[in-house]
Symmetry: C2
Subunit: 375 residues, 2 copies
């Protein structure tokens, strides 16, 4: 079996905003085939936590994080496009990050890893694109942190992508989003097991990561969704732990289950670096204002969408991106979706998000009735 | 000098929903004089964290937590009303709570304290009212947790108060509010210094309390206020600590300052008990539904107000209380205020909250121009 995940090693010194890495690697997966004209490439950037495994493939049939969006006859149709998804620089699923061994010291980078920026992630993604022989892209696509990265990419490489798709992204983090992420980072750093970033793989700060994940979930979803799904339902006596101040309500049990699933899957230092990269990102760094920064985006077409219930990347910010792009005479499609799932809607409210991406990428899905359901 | 804070000792066994206390005490303060008819009493319940010191007095001239609302010629005019503010049962400012010594063991109650409910707090408040010789009240007033308590009091003692004032309250916690408070409790419990509730006074779980306070602040305020006050302003180099993942933004510094101020002022176990009491409160426990519960409130007049930006006690819930009271043919005043300060607006947006309370209590303030500013 062919390994689905491929690794590209960047030659020489990779310069970052505040430091450098020697010969870092970037993990990626691809779907579909590059056409003869080499103009059907789509570059996909991820949110904070996923790997490059966006969808299943022959080489790796496990379900990907955007399985319903990407594949044969899906909204991003891999029979038509050559899709590249990169694991973000700084992450821990194959790309060089704080958990990787620093070739200069033969120890994990830990906090010796340079300050990471969204622009660094975009540059690293571009190295993969170049290595595959592409000199242009049909589109650059990203959601959440990936939305920020796709915007950064379109500013840094204005001639590369014909289209930009920014989903639940942001031109710069709001102080509320910064505060929530800053608190998650402080929670992790407050776990004695974090040990100033020097923890062994089998002694990770799991308590801090558990609490940070729960707080993350509360910012990724919406109060309306929790109300609808759980209300004030109590957990049955049989599932009570008897622990004082343990779990009373189903909604607490839901958060517990998410935290359980998360623990051990993500490196704490990588989380800190990626989380802070989102806070530091500001389109205004590219020209002095958000408007000027957005005007530097070279894409001819753009799709900007988000959920009205998003607390973390609020819909006003999606609108700000769309308006900024319109000023540049681009063909811009903007949708404010009434999904109740908050920031995570792009991962779960497929009935609303799929038809829009299908339309944008002119896909030929065979369920027009179901697909058109957008309010 | 007379001590402002008074203590009432409840005789015998005080029954709680899930246990009892022997001769607990309730701390309270009063302002103004009880009139000859004994019908000018106002009972004030507090939010989670304040003491009974709602306003300054001759006996204690320090600023109270609702200084601008309560006093001579203020919206709740203490030249006209006899105001009693109680420190909630379970709190740590004079009333019996988990930090108090259990007379049966001569050790602090800690987690041996019975499960606390909002109804228990209401009953304890009523013991003070009775001890002062009052058989009726002009009004029962509360904000936040105190709003819940004033609603509970009006259900449990339907013949006592002629008026009910519920400010940024709730007939029952939403799953989002439950989740946020549950996470604060888990953060405190995860601090090794908490030690399953057995910590010494000088070895409190300060790290957990600090993080819980920051999360609390983020639920008490609103994204709009943080945007307006702090935006993405960075702290100057001179205030940088050099600590990795320390503070970058002014909004982080603001949260840090609030946490610093909070540490050492509140007992961790008391916090856990009061926080959970809010989650457990459900007006529907009084008759099977929120509607039936609210219909049992005996007050003839009611004022229900809140802030539209409140994440924790959302404005829809204020409306639910108002609607439930209207069904009972009461005279109900409802205001959804456009304050941007979120849940805490009742403590800070005095230009909007004061005129409304002034109107309700027919106060005679001498700044009508300033006071009328309500949008």
């Amino acid at each position: 079996m062919v390994e689905a995940r491929k690794i590209h090693q960047i030659e020489g010194t990779f310069k970052m905003r505040n430091g450098h890495l020697e010969q870092p690697v970037v993990a990626y997966e691809t779907w579909g085939e590059l056409n003869f004209q080499r103009d059907n490439g789509i570059l996909l950037f991820t949110g904070l936590s996923p790997s490059a495994h966006a969808a299943s493939s022959e080489a790796d049939p496990s379900t990907g994080w955007w399985e319903q969006m990407l594949g044969d006859s899906k909204p991003i149709d891999t029979t038509k496009y050559f899709v590249i998804c990169v694991n973000s620089l700084g992450s821990c699923f194959g790309s060089t990050g704080p958990a990787s061994v620093n070739p200069e010291t033969r120890e994990p980078y830990g906090l010796q890893f340079p300050v990471l920026t969204i622009e660094d992630i975009a540059h690293a993604g571009h190295e993969v694109v170049k290595s595959l022989g592409l000199t242009s892209l049909h589109a650059v696509v990203g959601a959440s942190m990936g939305g920020m990265t796709s915007v950064a990419y379109s500013i840094l490489y204005p001639d590369m992508a014909e289209s930009l798709v920014s989903i639940s992204g942001s031109p710069r983090a709001t102080p509320f989003a910064i505060s929530m992420r800053s608190l998650q980072r402080e929670i992790i750093r407050s776990d004695p097991a974090w040990n100033h970033g020097n923890y062994d793989k089998d002694e990770e700060p799991v308590i801090g990561m558990r609490l940070a994940r729960k707080l993350g979930m509360l910012t990724y979803r919406s109060a309306a969704e929790l109300e609808k799904r759980f209300g004030r339902e109590l957990i049955p006596d049989g599932r009570q732990t008897g622990e004082p101040f343990g779990i009373d309500f189903e909604v607490e049990s839901y958060l517990e289950a998410h935290a359980d699933k998360w623990i051990g899957t993500f490196d704490a230092n990588c989380y800190l670096y990626l989380s802070r990269a989102m806070d530091l990102f500001d389109v205004a760094d590219h020209g002095g204002s958000v408007e000027v920064g957005l005007s530097r985006i070279g894409a001819r077409r753009a799709l900007v969408i988000g959920a009205e219930t998003d607390l973390l990347f609020p819909i006003e910010q999606q609108k700000q991106i769309a308006d900024g792009l319109r000023d540049g005479q681009r063909e811009v499609t903007f949708h404010a979706l009434p999904s109740i799932q908050g920031h995570d809607a792009f991962l779960v409210d497929m009935d609303r998000f799929r038809p829009i991406l299908c339309d944008f990428f002119n896909c030929s899905m065979n369920q027009p009735g179901k697909l058109r359901k957008v309010e």
